[in-house]
């Protein structure tokens, strides 16, 4: 099956309106991104026979049935795997398997979210219930939040390896430089390490500028067989390798706060692709927080455990740096509608196609995407390349 992944290609990608889109529902954003991704591929909605989506917010139950009905699709392969923001990266693996096995021909992965409009256009918490049922009753009463959970990991990494807030800030600063090259990015004004350090502490040791944006957005990705892909509008982008894993649901159950499941999913993706780290021209690493990136780079093996801080120093991941990463501006500066995974794929495909204009990484032929979901809980890693 591992080699069969290579006979599948991504043929269409698109994002919907992004930023603040109060007049459109999350369902519409997902459907409009789907329409544009199908147009990008030169396919129509009638071609779609595999649907992959999840909505984790209000009104999203039975997500794949909901979105299939909304768009008038009758899939013969359906997948609502719900493991957080990594789900959409994992869907690439699932869709590639389904296509390689002949279970569907055209797979549509879609996502829509009105994460900022749901909060009345402001940041801050969405309302939660006051009675907690299930295992999360051992976390929520203590005031856990997404940023609080990731802060626990950052604090532990600093304790074990001497990682500094300045090193985390390097990631935010470099990512903003990429965003300044992307007209669609929400935050494009340059920032400095001091700006990050001087932004208010949300949950120590994480500052405001260590945290992703909160936006509305939709995105979609279309896959089909490599054979069919070669007759479509754009050059196919092959799925060279993929891997997935999760290590826990709740941060209190995470076996080691300094290592994510990317140690498993990344190893699988590299093995299945038959490639090594030096083959990767561009990396799209889910950046819910700066610490997410640092832990992921180590867990994927781009550097040794504990050396992530040194790895990202001196703006290594910025435009013109040695390691091109999060080239659309990431969740930190481009967009983040609660789950970011699909946007790593969209950018990786555009980079491999050479469509990125001023932010194009010269000669990008092989791209890696890593999605992280939950509270550092689940990961999906895919490696994409030119046909």
């Amino acid at each position: 099956m591992a080699t069969a992944l290579r006979d599948v290609a991504i043929v269409g990608v698109a994002e919907s309106d992004i930023g603040r889109v109060p007049d459109k529902s999350k369902f519409q954003l997902s459907a409009e991104a789907s329409r544009m991704a199908l147009e990008d591929a030169g396919l129509s909605v009638g071609d779609v026979d595999g649907l992959f989506t999840t909505i984790i917010t209000e009104g999203g139950q039975f997500s794949s049935m909901l979105m299939a009905e909304y768009m008038g699709i009758t899939p013969r392969f359906t997948d609502s795997t719900s493991i957080g923001g990594s789900s959409f990266v994992v869907y690439v693996e699932h869709a590639a398997m389904a296509i390689a096995a002949g279970l569907c021909d055209v797979a549509l992965i879609c996502h829509g979210s009105t994460n900022i409009s749901d909060r009345g256009g402001r940041g801050g918490p969405v309302s939660q219930s006051t009675e907690v049922f299930g295992p999360t009753q051992f976390e929520e009463p203590y005031g856990v939040s997404t940023v609080g959970a990731y802060a626990l990991a950052a604090q532990r990494h600093m304790h074990e390896y001497g990682t500094t807030s300045e090193q985390l800030a390097e990631i935010a600063v470099a990512t903003r430089k990429w965003a300044s090259l992307n007209p669609k990015a929400r935050m494009r004004d340059p920032i400095t390490i001091d700006d990050v350090m001087n932004s208010r502490v949300i949950a120590s040791p994480l500052h405001l500028l260590d945290c992703c944006l909160v936006t509305d957005a939709g995105g979609a990705v279309v896959l089909t067989s490599l054979e069919r892909a070669r007759d479509l509008k754009k050059a196919p982008v092959r799925v060279l390798g993929a891997g997935e894993a999760h290590s826990h649901r709740m941060i209190s159950q995470m076996p080691d706060l300094t290592q994510t499941a990317a140690a498993i999913s990344g190893k699988l993706a590299f093995e299945r692709a038959g490639l090594t780290h030096s083959d990767i021209d561009v990396a799209e690493i889910y950046d819910s927080f700066t610490i997410t990136v640092l832990l992921t780079l180590e867990s994927l093996g781009f550097c040794a455990k504990g050396e992530g801080g040194a790895f990202v120093s001196n703006q290594r991941t910025a435009p013109g740096g040695e390691f091109s990463m999060n080239t659309q501006g990431g969740a930190l500066s481009y967009t983040h509608p609660g789950m970011f995974g699909i946007f790593t794929i969209i950018e990786a495909v555009r980079q491999v196609r050479g469509e990125c204009g001023p932010r194009q990484v010269p000669g990008a032929e092989v791209a890696l995407c890593n999605g992280t979901g939950g509270t550092l809980s689940s990961t999906g890693t895919i490696i994409l390349g030119r046909d």
């Binding site: 309302s127 219930s129 009463p141 203590y142």
Partner: protein, 136 residues
Amino acid sequence: MAAPSPPPLPRPYQDTAAYWQAAREHRFIIQKCADCAEFQFYPRGVCSHCLSSALEWEEASGRGEVYSFSINYRAPHPGFADKTPFVLALVTLAEGPRMMTNIVDCDPDTVRIGMAVTVTFDDVTEDVTLPKFRPL
């Protein structure tokens, strides 16, 4: 966040009722597996090490050390609006398992990873008591 709102509280269920009842009585109990002798936290209907249902409740020492912590300045829920800053923490219990809690009864700025802590009971309402930890 003007109107006072209750913080999120546990609704006990089959797996967890005994734990929360003990907490109300200011007792801190955790599960031990009769088959593989491992402790576990949080309470479950089976052992997460060997899937046995033969679980027994044991009075825990209430001692542990801070595995990690974060001083939270933003309320994650309206019920925490009047409680910031608070210390969110993971504590490794002397028996082995790790749990989420708050470190209380100290200046948040003095909390450190590796700090020895002991359980204390916060009677949040008449019905719900949360085990928390304070420096030893």
